[in-house]
Amino acid sequence: MSFPAHDPVGRLIEQLRRLPGIGPRSAQRLAFHLLRAPQAEVEALADAILEVKRRVRLCAVCYHITEGERCRFCLDDSRDHGIVCVVEQPLDVFAIERTGYRGVYHVLHGVLNPLEGVGPEQLRIAELVERVRSGGIREVIMATNPSLEGEATAMYIRRLLEPFGVQVTRLARGLPAGADLDYLDDATLTRALEGRQAL
């Protein structure tokens, strides 16, 4: 069943369909869930959406999400500001935080994807180079995903940072916890063998 676009329910379905991972059926289910939900619950959701758009912006230094001009990591003097961990998305910052990492971050907001036409100018790469150029950074940790695009981005940034003499490191690549050797692809196994460590 389809709803006309000018119909309030149709409009809601249309807006929900634009969300990532939401198809037409899911959009309809969500719309009818909201229709049935108590007024206060729906208003709380609408307020939360509006508030996040009103108050959350990007940190002027690392481009992580923040409410102020600088994020809490950049404002934290107890962290090591000489080490910068470069990640693809703000969500990756939370993943790295779980490890107890005490340096600071730089969020690229994507990765190079030449086949989809995503080039360096669409990412926060120039801002990273400028940050390194301005001094005070000893090490840049490339924590992009171990995918083709993530590797391309890491290699591209490493090349750009070469003139500054800063140490550029890459997250180790190898066996995921609980993996079966039998099922691993050659590239992962090769990297794991190359990166083996003394017990």
Partner: protein, 265 residues
């Protein structure tokens, strides 16, 4: 009895992987027997996926599929050959992505493409082995020829007349070189040096190994690159998405490497 087999296997090279849904991906593969086709790889973006590493772009693998209503579904995968240097060399990887994109545009859908598959495999292996951008030039020449658009460089494409051993006008829209008599004012194209013309003739006739053994000066290689880019853009009716990235990487590498090293191994 069903009228077609529900499960099938295909060897191929992954040209592209696009995320779809929460953890799935659309995988575009070039196979010698099935040409270009796209299948769904379910759960392949989960860290626990067993097929994840086998469907990275530029992986040569053996894949198993179940026929679906619209798209086939990848059920198993195993790697036949990887190109590890493409994960470590910025220029080699940018070049490999560019040839993969050309292959995707030029490959027939669901029709055998053994020559293109063979060519792509050889060029990726050459790039993996340290060959420079001359491998890309060879792919541009030969892949377009295999697709039915061989650049006409043996004589004038319009009158068939012999070309004297001097610079000639290359008109992509005409399909090759024009003699002085056939070239009309305002023709779109570029003048090609005799060395570039000879390079193209050689590439269209010789195997990859012999082409890569040529030592070509930087000016000739640059002119050949520009002409072949015009040729590709004309045939595809647009610039390949990865072309700009390849140019940027080339400019970046040319600043730090000897220009000869960019073109040659």
């Amino acid at each position: 009895m069903p009228d077609r087999i529900r499960l099938y296997a295909a060897e191929g090279i992954v040209l592209r992987r696009q995320p779809v849904g929460e953890a799935d991906a659309l995988v575009t593969i070039l196979s010698p027997t099935q040409g270009r086709f796209t299948a769904v790889a379910r759960g392949v973006r989960k860290p626990t996926s067993r097929t994840r590493g086998h469907v990275e772009p530029l992986t040569h693998g053996r894949y198993f599929f179940a026929r679906g209503r619209s798209l086939d579904v990848l059920t198993q995968a195993e790697t036949v050959r990887t190109f590890p240097r493409l994960q470590r060399s910025l220029l080699a990887q940018a070049a490999a992505l560019y040839v993969a994109e050309l292959a995707e545009h030029l490959a027939p859908e669901h029709e055998p493409a053994p020559e293109l598959f063979q060519l792509l495999g050889s060029v990726l292996a050459a790039l993996d082995g340290g060959a420079g951008l001359m491998a890309v030039r060879y792919f541009e020449l030969r892949a377009t020829a295999d697709a039915g658009y061989a650049m006409h460089v043996g004589s004038c494409v319009r009158c068939g007349g012999t070309l004297p051993p001097e610079p000639a006008f290359f008109a992509p829209a005409a399909g090759g070189l024009l003699c002085a008599g056939c070239r009309v004012d305002g023709s779109s194209g570029t003048m090609l040096d005799v060395r570039v013309i000879k390079l193209f003739r050689f590439g269209l006739a010789q195997p990859l190994e012999r082409f890569l053994s040529l030592r070509v000066d930087t000016a000739t290689a640059d002119q050949a690159a520009r002409a072949l880019r015009q040729w590709v853009c004309h045939l595809l009716e647009r610039e390949p998405a990865s072309a700009r990235y390849l140019d940027e990487v080339y400019a970046l590498e040319a600043r730090t490497l000897d220009a000869q090293a960019v073109y040659h191994s």
